[in-house]
């Protein structure tokens, strides 16, 4: 069962269960099949690999955040990937964000605090569009949930850059990506082997970097996931127990009724 990715196929899967496999599930409109990576958060009890998520945050901070906002995240949320309060304060303080107006009514900038929203790279959509060849870089808070295929799709885009085939007409200023629908993407290849330097000695090849940043983004899109699954296990165990008890009582009560 997939926990995170999203799912038009899922809907027809439900119908398909009833149809007893009479009809094929719809094909996702994708010429290249999605990669099937293993994710720490995949399984029923899967959690986020916090070290990977922290490395992913490093990539987001150093690379992605130059163009992509994450407007639904606050620095305080980083406790969810295992950062200590002191670390969060330091991370926030290193970033300059708008802090409203000063006493004279002039816009004021200053270091962020843990309660600040992640710094947005552009003040507004128009600025973002004009700086990026006409395309607004999407906010990444929910990107994993907002794409068919979820983490595998985002991983596929990050690792899907290759030279355009000879017969492919690539528009000016666009890049060829085998995973992106239509294969022409405004984003230049963001990650390559060695784009970031990991302090924990993890190999910094493209595959590892993409893996780490997708882990971070998956957490960002579903920060409640670990708590949710843990609660789910307890709730369902309780309900199974209740079902057993209730059924036993039902049998007891009905025992004097003759069928």
């Amino acid at each position: 069962m997939r926990m995170l990715g999203s799912r038009r196929p899922g809907r027809s899967l439900l119908a398909g269960m009833f149809a007893a496999g009479l009809l094929a599930a719809p094909a996702v409109a994708q010429e290249n099949p999605l990669p099937h990576e293993r994710w720490s958060f995949d399984s029923l009890f899967g959690t986020f690999d916090l070290a990977a998520a922290q490395r992913g945050f490093q990539i987001y901070s150093n690379v992605c955040s130059n163009c992509h906002s994450m407007q639904y995240l606050h620095y305080r949320d980083l406790s969810g990937i295992g950062l200590e309060p002191d670390q969060i304060k330091a991370v926030a303080a290193a970033v300059t964000v708008p802090l409203g107006l000063d006493d004279q009514g002039n816009p004021k900038d200053g270091p962020a605090n843990p309660g600040s929203v992640f710094r947005a790279p552009f003040p507004n959509q128009n600025a973002a569009r004009s700086a990026n060849n006409g395309a607004v870089p999407p906010d990444l808070s929910l990107i994993i949930n907002a794409r068919e295929g979820g983490p595998n799709y985002v991983y596929g885009v990050l690792t899907g850059y290759e030279p355009a085939p000879a017969d492919f007409k690539l528009a000016d200023g666009l890049y060829y990506n085998k995973m992106f629908p239509g294969h022409q993407i405004h984003m230049p290849q963001p990650l390559q082997d060695g784009t970031v330097e990991y302090s924990d000695g993890t190999k910094n090849n493209l595959d590892q970097e993409a893996h780490d940043v997708v882990t971070f983004l998956s957490w960002a899109a579903n920060p409640e996931m670990v708590e949710r699954k843990q609660m789910g296990v307890r709730v369902i165990l309780f309900l199974v127990f209740m079902t057993g008890i209730t059924y036993a009582v039902k049998r007891q009560i009905w025992s004097d009724v003759h069928h």
Binding site: L14, R147, M231, I236, H259
Partner: protein, 424 residues
Amino acid sequence: MVGMTKSTFANPVINWIDTRLPIFTMMQKEYGVFPTPKNFNYFWNFGALAMVNLVIMIITGIFLAMNYQPNSELAFGSIQHIMRDVNFGWLIRYVHQNGASMFFIVTYIHIFRGLYYGSYKNPRELLWILGVVILILMMATAFMGYVLPWGQMSYWGATVITNLFSAFPIVGPKIVTLLWGGFSVDNPTLNRFFSLHYLLPFVLVAVIFLHVAALHITGSNNPLGIDVKSPQDTLPFHPYYTIKDSVGICVFLIVLSALVFFAPNFLGDANNFIPANPLQTPADIVPEWYFLPFYAVLRSVPNKLLGVCMMFGSLIVLFVLPWLDTSRVRSARFRPIYRQLIFLWVAAVIVLGICGAHKPEGIWVILSRVATLYYFLHFLVVMPVLGKLERPLPLPESISNPVLGGRGGGPLPGGAPAKPMEKA
């Protein structure tokens, strides 16, 4: 004293209240000793399940409304606020979101139960009609609720569905403007949908009250579809059916929990995680899964007005079902041909659901047309004609008789003497 109840409750406080407002006597009569056919199977759980589901939806909905902003600039962000910052907001929202799907699963099974066992027939026609009203109100409520997160699919779904009304001549465009509160889906649309989404569930409660009131006049149907003949055929509702419904409620909660905790977005659409953008149409506009069969009926007709009429017709035909079915035998157990064809109808609905999820091209157009044809044929031709032609199996004498015979439902061996009941 005139009109005062003679309460039989021993507790003085309850007795005092009951004498002046006999709610305890009423509850005792309607849910305590209420005579209920003894042969219900688990299909008879689903009415109670739908009731429980509605209560869950109303409670979670009230808490969501405390934190939601019905404003096109703020709505999407306020959902994320609920998911991330409100204490257990994610739980409340996921229960509400998946509760909607469960509500339809439960209600569709409840409706199938009614169709299979002929619960819509004399004397329960009005009960059935109220049920169809409930279904339509539920659909309207669910549709408007899906718009509130103001994601791409919310916005474009609202645009497509409200635009359907424009197919009606003369009044159509006026209706659409009225629904929108302007000339496109925008903030006024969101405001009025939020208001109505909060209102309609309480209208639902009222209609469900009438539905249940009507049920308590006619009494429940049962898997044999024959009338209750004697007290031996029934059991008091409590404790027999309160406990049986409780078993169903536990199982229902397990299924709901599995969705909420382990696959909360399984039935959703990725596009609704993108904020509404009036300038960018998603590649594929698909309604929620529970509307897919009706969406497929709509798209199976090349003419817009006719398609809209067929779509609404697929619901409206249910109103006259009690008079379209000419067979006087209720339960499909005793109707060998109907018993097959009702499953053909179910298959048609499922095929329509699958067609609704696909772009209307190639095989899907043909399939949805065939299925739509049978959907209507079943109600408009098969049911009236079959009622006249079909030779039903012999009906059992009473509910307690075949129940004594072991395997319920089959034709009884002729003249088998009824064993005396041990429990009257």
